[in-house]
Chain length 203, copies 3
């Protein structure tokens, strides 16, 4: 039986893959191209993290991410037109993925002995870098650099994880606090349209 974390991982992977496949479909990609973009959106952040940490990426050990992306593609092919009605559901799923991936990235880096400032960066890469690769592949400026709080939520969540550890909380409590911080930061930022200041044109 899958654990609670495995279920969240599957939900997050599915939501990330859907976001890649939908953006690919807007650019008239074929099924294969859409699958690749969905897969890279889902596993890209974790792959960059694992290459930097010099360990084998998780998707090369467990085929669940390939299968999950395949289910996401089938879903979009069958129910594409109805996805727009599920906008809020997918926003929640996507944010669950962001929170979980961040916490997993922070925890994996700490377990390998890296200091917290590296772990926070690795958590943010795990959560946000897949979306950056997605936007590069569909030839758009990465969304997370211009709009909404997204990767910043990962940084705050990683920092909350660290504060939890500093005050002596157990590992699972730190993970819970970190994940909740990512989740709430993103939800509240979108609900109240909170963003970071833009840089003025200085060239």
């Amino acid at each position: 039986m899958p654990t609670f974390v495995q279920i969240l991982d599957f939900i997050g992977t599915f939501a990330f893959a859907i976001s890649g496949i939908r953006l690919a479909s807007a650019k008239r990609f074929d099924w294969f191209g859409a699958y690749v973009v969905g897969f890279v959106t889902a596993i890209g952040g974790g792959t960059i993290r694992d290459v930097l940490l010099d360990v084998t990426p998780g998707w090369m050990v467990n085929p669940v991410y390939l299968i999950c992306t395949g289910l996401a593609l089938i879903w979009v092919i069958l129910f594409g037109k109805s996805l727009i009605h599920l906008h809020n559901t997918f926003f929640i799923f996507d944010t669950i993925g962001l929170a979980l991936f961040t916490v997993v990235g922070v925890g994996k880096s700490l377990a390998m002995g890296y200091p917290f400032w590296v772990a926070i960066i690795m958590g943010s890469i795990t959560g946000a870098a897949g979306g950056v690769i997605r936007d590069v592949l569909i030839n758009e400026i990465p969304l997370i650099f211009r709009k909404e709080i997204y990767a910043m939520a990962c940084v705050l969540g990683g920092t909350a994880y660290w504060v939890g550890a500093v005050v002596g909380l157990e590992s699972y409590a730190c993970q819970l606090i970190g994940g909740a911080t990512v989740f709430l930061t993103r939800i509240l930022a979108v609900k109240y349209k909170i963003g970071l200041p833009l840089l003025s044109k200085n060239e």
Copy 2:
């Protein structure tokens, strides 16, 4: 004396480098930029594979890929205008490269003990990812995601390799069947204009 595989490798590298250099020339790159794009097109897929497999990329061990790209650049500078008449020749050379690189990628992954589903992905990355990096560098949407059967031929070739192994064929026979599948799939798909379905715009 070079082996038959080394000759095919040289032909494939040359054809891949030519494709990168020609697309760079269409964007008015200088000689250095064109060389870099040609080189990355030729060795990019194998490099991503080797980084994921955690081994030293082949071009860092053997300078033949640098030299081959240099010859490709000289060729384009000298005979650029006549390349258009060699369209079919280069299409064949490019497809030879695709087939060989795929088989090499599958074989290398299997030799390292990875299961077949990882080896098929690694074969496809070896064959097709260089062209994706090329298209990102010239700021275009990657061609293989929208047009023709290309990376899909690698997936089919890798699968044929696997089927050969399952039914108990020798390693060299699996390689031959895998390579032939890539080659024929791509040739037939282009000749009969067979493509994958596009995703409809679902946003």
Copy 3:
């Protein structure tokens, strides 16, 4: 107390980060996006080099690059409008960074036992690849492929380093000659508008 090389490293990192942040600001990135682009511009080349050499990237060991990018962001936010008057100063700083990063990349590769032709490529990647990633992230064709002598200066500097070693100079003298070659090549190329030939449109 910081050594002379550490001071040059800080100046180069600062200048590279400023270049990324300014180009991000021209695309209306938010502060976080600008920080990420600045950081990737500064450490991207060295990171690709270290992944290829299979060692831990320097910025994961020493937080000075994160701090330096933060100072660069504060600088642009506070004094953005005056940066245009400092154009020549930043050009010099950027060229110092290019020279130092190239020499560091060559030296690190040689110390790991790679031959000189690999070391020259690694030096060029260290100096120039961060700017390529920067341009991909802001969705522009990489500047160094089309304009001015830039990465070519790294190649010449790496070659000068090699010539120095061949004629039996001490390591520090090779580094000095290599760095000076990068610096002077770039300064002279810009001053006298020397560029490489463009490829004509051959498609």
